[in-house]
């Protein structure tokens, strides 16, 4: 470890410094530009998360990839037009208007291909995406050879570039994000209906095609607004990752929408803050990585749909199945061959080491058998349908039916009313 300590001291000083920077960034105390970027990224994240949810529910998430790539030719053409008119080619509003126009053309091409040819949507997305992006790159190359003075850093739109963000830029992003959000809240009901059951929506007279187009238009707006911060290649991540993350936590579409907005907003804010806390950290990619962090955590630990929960549920389920089968076997005097069953029964104090039932084991076994008979009645009776749907052969019947209902069932079975619990 010779020469170790000066190095360690250096790294710990760096760690301290980075920590202070991150703290400042999180509290928006890192200067004008960083604050603008953080606010813009938060708003963008919220509107992308909310918009993306409807796209995700409609199962058309990848359409956003085609839309975003189709913005590039528009950016370049807008730049060339503005320059040729003698203006400043870097005017953000002008560039965004151009990108919106070409994204719209791309979207119409995509819709036309899926509706009027036998091309499936995935193939249509691939065609539109690659052709528009290819054309955009050609234009970008042409622009870069047009003269060094005119180089406007248009390639920044590919992955986003926040370094020179102006107040006006932030304002454009904030206004665009807010308008998109308001429009989405306005048409959320028809969008949900179309996403869940397009045929029913059509039968009710909802203009399904136009609602889809409006949804895509909003996605396009988010994409365009996000060009400056995350860029056209990564905006799709902000549209898809938040809703997929939110879906882990809720079974209700309105809550998925809100959670998704929250995840998107947090990712935008934290990502911008982290990238501002150290030099040379790109904002867009960091935002996407933060969003992915939320996704990964949700994937693992979300109750219900998470991976860990599923594994635990399976193991618990398996144990309960074995216990129940063991008890039923005991009650009917059948031998138990499964080692796991015997071990679980023994651990629960229901059988002795030699496999003979204990006092409490016999009582539990009798109850298990009785519950089984009760369930039989419940499942055969339409009046108990909601309870019967919960039958898994394991659930304690007391958790599903009231004492009175159970007494009623016991009367039907006949025999003793009380069973030792």
């Amino acid at each position: 470890m010779a020469g170790g300590w000066p190095r360690r001291r250096w790294t710990s000083w760096r760690a301290c410094w980075a920590e202070a920077m991150l703290r400042d960034a999180l509290l928006l105390q890192l200067g004008y530009n960083a604050t603008l970027v953080a606010i813009g990224a938060t708003l963008l994240g919220i509107s992308a998360g909310v918009t993306g949810t409807f796209l995700f529910l409609r199962k058309r998430a990848l359409v956003s990839d085609a839309i975003s790539h189709a913005t590039l030719p528009g950016v370049c053409i807008a730049f060339m037009v503005m320059v040729s008119l003698g203006g400043d080619g870097r005017n953000l509003a002008g560039l965004l208007a151009g990108s919106a126009l070409s994204a719209w053309v791309g979207l119409l091409c995509l819709n036309w291909l899926t509706r009027n040819t036998r091309l499936a949507e995935d193939a249509a997305i691939g065609s539109v995406l690659s052709v528009f992006f290819g054309f955009g790159i050609v234009l970008l190359t042409v622009i870069q050879t047009m003269g060094a003075g005119r180089q406007a850093g248009l390639e920044g739109f590919l992955l986003g570039s926040t370094a020179g963000m102006l107040w006006a830029d932030a304002l454009v992003i904030a206004l665009g994000g807010a308008c998109t959000l308001a429009l989405i809240l306005l048409i959320r009901r028809p969008m949900t209906m179309v996403a869940f059951d397009p045929e029913y929506a059509a039968a009710r007279g909802l203009p399904v095609y136009r609602i889809d187009l409006a949804m895509m238009g909003l996605v396009m707006a988010v994409t365009v607004v996000g060009l400056k911060i995350v860029g056209l290649i990564l905006i799709v991540a902000l549209l898809i990752i938040p809703p997929v993350t939110a879906r882990f936590w809720s079974e209700r579409s309105d809550r998925v929408v809100m959670l998704s907005g929250l995840v998107g907003g947090l990712a935008g804010y934290l990502g911008a803050a982290i990238s501002a806390s150290a030099p040379n950290l790109p904002t867009g990619p960091i935002i996407v990585l933060v969003a992915f962090g939320f996704f990964a955590v949700s994937l693992l630990v979300a109750p219900g749909r998470g991976v860990l929960a599923a594994v635990l549920r399976h193991l618990r389920f398996q144990r309960r199945v074995h216990l129940r089968q063991g008890l039923l076997a005991l009650a009917q005097g059948q031998p138990i061959y499964e080692r796991l069953t015997v071990r679980l029964l023994h651990r629960a104090g229901l059988v002795r080491a030699d496999g003979v039932a204990t006092e409490s084991g016999r009582a539990r076994a009798a109850k298990a058998l009785r519950d089984e008979k009760r369930w039989e009645i419940v499942r055969a009776d339409q009046a108990h349908e909601a309870a019967a749907a919960l039958y898994d052969g394991l659930r304690d019947i007391e958790t599903v039916l009231t004492r009175d209902q159970i007494d009623e069932i016991d009367r039907r079975i006949g025999g003793p009313q009380e069973v030792p619990a």
Binding site: I187, T192, F196, E199, E251, S253, Q382, A389
Partner: protein, 267 residues
Amino acid sequence: MIELATHDGVKIDLPDIDSSPLAVRGLTVSYGQKPAVFSVDMTVQPGAMTAIIGPNGAGKSTLLKAALGIVKPLSGQVTVFGRPLDSQRSRIAYVPQRASVDWDFPTRVLDVVLMGLYRELGLLRRVRARHLARAMDCLARVGMHDFADRQIGQLSGGQQQRVFLARALAQDADLYLLDEPFAGVDAATEKAIITVLKSLKAAGKTVVVVHHDLATVTDYFDHVFLINTRPVAEGPVAEAFTADTLQATYGGRLATAQVDQLARVLG
């Protein structure tokens, strides 16, 4: 009443178009080059239960979807209560096939039924207690009120079908169009659905059902419309649902067992 000749020349009394809840004239629908439904005239009787019957791929569902404007017909006219379809949307309730939606969609049973109240709720109105009460009432009518808070993915096929019916009931429509509501459901569901449909009929509503089980036609329905791409026969069950018309509709496609079963049903 006017008299119309169907394609095989059987003359059947039909109500005139103006009083029919659903009248279709010269309807042709095609996916690609092959017509799925060809030149169909159909006049649904008011206040009756009508079954649309035909073999697989005969265009039964397509006929329904075209009548509702879900698929665009190549030609033909649709009138609802004697008026253009779009002016009468609020009087129609549609129950699509269960398999047409993704049941993993994040929504509760109650939310699905609330979609039936879209006309009242519109874009922004809040869901109030009376809306919830009405949705719960519709769920109760199909025996699903205890399921209101469950995620739709937890339902069995029959339960899903009843939720769809409850959503249609919430619309409080005059004309109910159901696409194969009895396909792949349990006996309890079939009984619950037919009870609800009969109560609708008793309330003077018109019910049209795409149906596949020939054995239950005489029990459930008043009228039949037989179709095999082209219309085959139309009229009261006693007149239009005969061995001859079935032979014309199905050709050689009825299994021997089905023919025997029908022979018993039809006497």
